[in-house]
Symmetry: C2
Subunit: 469 residues, 2 copies
């Protein structure tokens, strides 16, 4: 074999090591750093409160007729914006076939066929990575303002469909990069509420000075971990981006090898056929449309509602928009066991109608209990009663967090990590469930669509040090 | 933190190393072994010819009216089987928007919403992995019979929609495994011809004795590599499975780090919005239906045709079915360069209407030249003329292979790997193209939907040793 000299001159192109060996350890060091260089953890609440006062926020429910620029299509009944931008609310007919047994339903769904950017800028201060977090208002958050990624932008945002201000710090994430990319991966949003929606989850290390702004503060991963222990401080978009940080696995041991885990996942995707067809929202079977909301005829799942927003801190001063409002408080939990001394969590291969590809790995339990209260005990979801009745001594983590406040109104869930034993959660898990280490899941998060957004939130508690298993 | 003793008894569950460090080297050793324990490479052609004679094969074109069990739906015009199994031919309307510019078209598409199994059984003889290859007839193959995976089964196959014989060796791949899984991943089929079709690509190492059968032979990867240098010997399904074999990267160096490559891929997926809507085949704009075929009105791309098959070697003795017949010989090529001494290939982020997720990485060039002959030189696809006019001294690999003969009739393409220089293919590649090492691509193939089936075929030449770069 002859090797041709392609670069006969003095300049050879620089090759790189394929793997950034040191990056996971830099994240781990930040997670182990409980106080940062810019703002003490105990002062974060005060800073958020100060930002809350500095802006005027007011959100009120309005009837659909008072939506400005939004209307129901006269033919399909789909709810959309006259510009054709932002998102539409449409109908979806889902048929899920598992091992030959079919299950079908209709539901409203949010369609937004564009990829948004969720990006956190990171920078080393005193040798420790800090994350530039934003105090951001979203109309669906119960407390309106939470800690968000540096950039949280739909393409409509950054192509100016709002006709508003530029997205601050966007230049670090879109266009020719000014920083070093540490993670950049498409991950799903809620498959039960969104039709095939993905966001770009990015962690970018800034090169050089970064301009400051009063709505942004640098925090270590350890500080964010402590804040994740409180209710409704760190928003969903921040949690999913943080979960994508690479993390070191000291032992490299697990109950199943990575190949076995991937094989199980492939088998789970293969045994489910999911057909999700967009249908008109008008006359959607099982759903009723009123002046203020679209509701399931038995009052379950969620409603489509509308709000009016007055705010000075967002890209535009005020607007109206539809939101999805779930029924009741959800419960979202990983069961955890130490197996041979190594922490594992029990993942569940879930079908959600809006997933790009049939199945993603979710938490052990992810339900809104009130949707299942009419079922007999034997028909209720696996492990749900175990989580609802858990002894407090088994609870390793518990807090209430809300889902994306730009699309969902008061969509709160109790997030839990609970210890289990062999009797409650055997090593030989039921079909559709498997034990994996958090480090295995972290590696999968370098790639698209392995873990759903709820599982990613739970994983962010582990990688940020909010809980140590 | 307290560590609870979950296994107080004498038996601790066995943990495993997450990574199978030795597996890639075992594949590499097999690739370096030019002769096997069971059948000499020079005797493979004779064995295939003998199998060809042992069975009676006859394939003839028939009008649609002579299809048995297949018919056009009176409302939609979609072509399907009365059992509801196998596949349907439907219409697809694709709108692809890239950086704000929209491009739309209609086309027939094959819909088969189930995951098939493509599995190769491997076993060590004399310390070297051998692959159990099948001499299998498929009606669309130009020479009917080629080397196939051990198991090549749609779910219709193995759930007996054929009412035919069992699928041989299926028990090693479906159900509780009898072997050790070395690779198991969903990969796409042709996104231009299939609607969101994936197959499970599996390599499984057999434990214990494997029964022999006259249609199957054990070959080393090196033998298969030599056979891949010949036209139409190794079928598409075998090539895609072989590409998923893990392979060692001795140096771990590349022009872009894995994180940079993943980030570029994420950006490529993000800048394309693809909307693919199933529409009725009846009255599909731009297509004409006749008694023997459905054709593009300008005679381009492909036709839908029907064939009758007489064979004794398949699951059933004879049948009729539709096939897609492309127009003309395709050309499918990787440009390759040594960069800093390390071989790289130029991948192209391609939109195909039937992909699960907008974009996959394809070869540098993947076209049917006759579809573009009406365009002026400046409008023709990038690098196409470079490949068509390449000096023979630059050709490192060349052979004609056909695509899946169960769905495509005489779908042949010239597969090439060509050396390029800085003037022809600069390191700073055009938008949508990037230089990657074969080992980077091999790692991506542990996961779904990074590389399209043509790129996987090209990669199989490298991992099998058909060509050394």
């Amino acid at each position: 074999m002859t090797v041709r000299t392609l670069f006969p001159g003095p300049v050879e192109p620089a090759l790189k090591a394929r793997l950034d060996i040191e990056v996971p350890y830099r994240f781990a060091r930040s997670a182990a750093t409980p106080e940062g260089a810019a703002l003490r953890t105990e002062d974060v609440a005060g800073w958020l409160e100060e930002r809350r006062r500095a802006h005027r926020f007011q959100v009120e429910r309005i009837p659909f007729a008072e939506l400005d620029g939004w209307s129901f299509d006269p033919v399909t009944g789909n709810l959309g914006h006259h510009s054709g931008k932002f998102f539409t609310v449409e109908g979806l007919r889902v048929t899920s076939t598992t091992d030959g047994f079919a299950h079908a339903w209709h539901q409203p769904i949010i369609r937004q066929p564009e990829v948004g950017i969720l990006g956190i800028l990171v920078k080393e201060f005193d040798g420790v990575l800090h994350f530039l977090m934003q105090a951001k208002m979203e109309p669906g958050n119960p407390n309106l303002l939470q800690l968000s990624p540096t950039v949280q932008a739909t393409r409509s945002n950054y192509t100016k469909a709002h006709k508003g201000a530029d997205v601050r710090y966007l230049e670090y994430f879109a266009g020719p990069g000014r920083g070093r990319v540490l993670a950049d991966v498409l991950q799903s949003e809620h498959g039960s509420w969104f039709f095939r929606k993905s966001n770009r989850n990015m962690l970018v290390e800034a090169v050089g000075e970064v301009p400051e702004h009063e709505d942004f503060r640098w925090l270590t991963l350890g500080q964010i971990g402590r804040l994740l222990g409180r209710d409704n401080v760190v928003n969903m978009d921040a949690r999913t981006v943080l979960s994508c940080a690479p993390f070191p696995d000291a032992e490299g041991l697990s109950l199943y090898s990575d190949t076995e885990l991937l094989s199980w996942f492939t088998a789970e995707r293969s045994r489910h056929d999911v057909s999700a067809e967009r249908v008109p929202l008008a006359g959607l079977p099982g759903w009723r449309q009123g002046e203020h909301s679209i509701d399931h005829e038995e009052g379950r799942y969620f409603s489509v509602v509308a709000v009016g927003v007055e705010a000075s801190s967002r890209e535009v001063g005020g607007w109206t928009q539809p939101l999805f409002e779930p029924k009741g408080l959800g419960v979202t939990a990983f069961l955890t066991r130490r197996i041979g001394g190594v922490p594992h969590v029990l993942v569940h291969a879930r079908v959600e109608g809006g997933f790009v590809d049939t199945v993603e790995l979710g938490p052990t339990v992810q339900y809104t209990p009130s949707n299942y209260s009419h079922l007999s005990r034997s028909d209720r979801p696996l492990f749900l009663d175990l989580v609802l009745g858990a002894d407090p001594s088994r609870i390793r983590y518990e807090a209430v967090h809300s889902e994306e406040g730009g699309r969902f109104l008061n969509a709160e869930s109790r997030y839990l990590i609970l210890e289990a034993d062999e009797e409650e959660a055997p090593l030989q898990a039921p079909p559709g469930y498997l034990w994996a280490t958090p480090w295995q899941l972290t590696c999968f998060l370098r790639h698209n669509h392995y873990l759903n957004v709820q599982a990613r939130t739970l994983l962010s508690f582990l990688t940020s040090g909010a809980v140590h298993l």
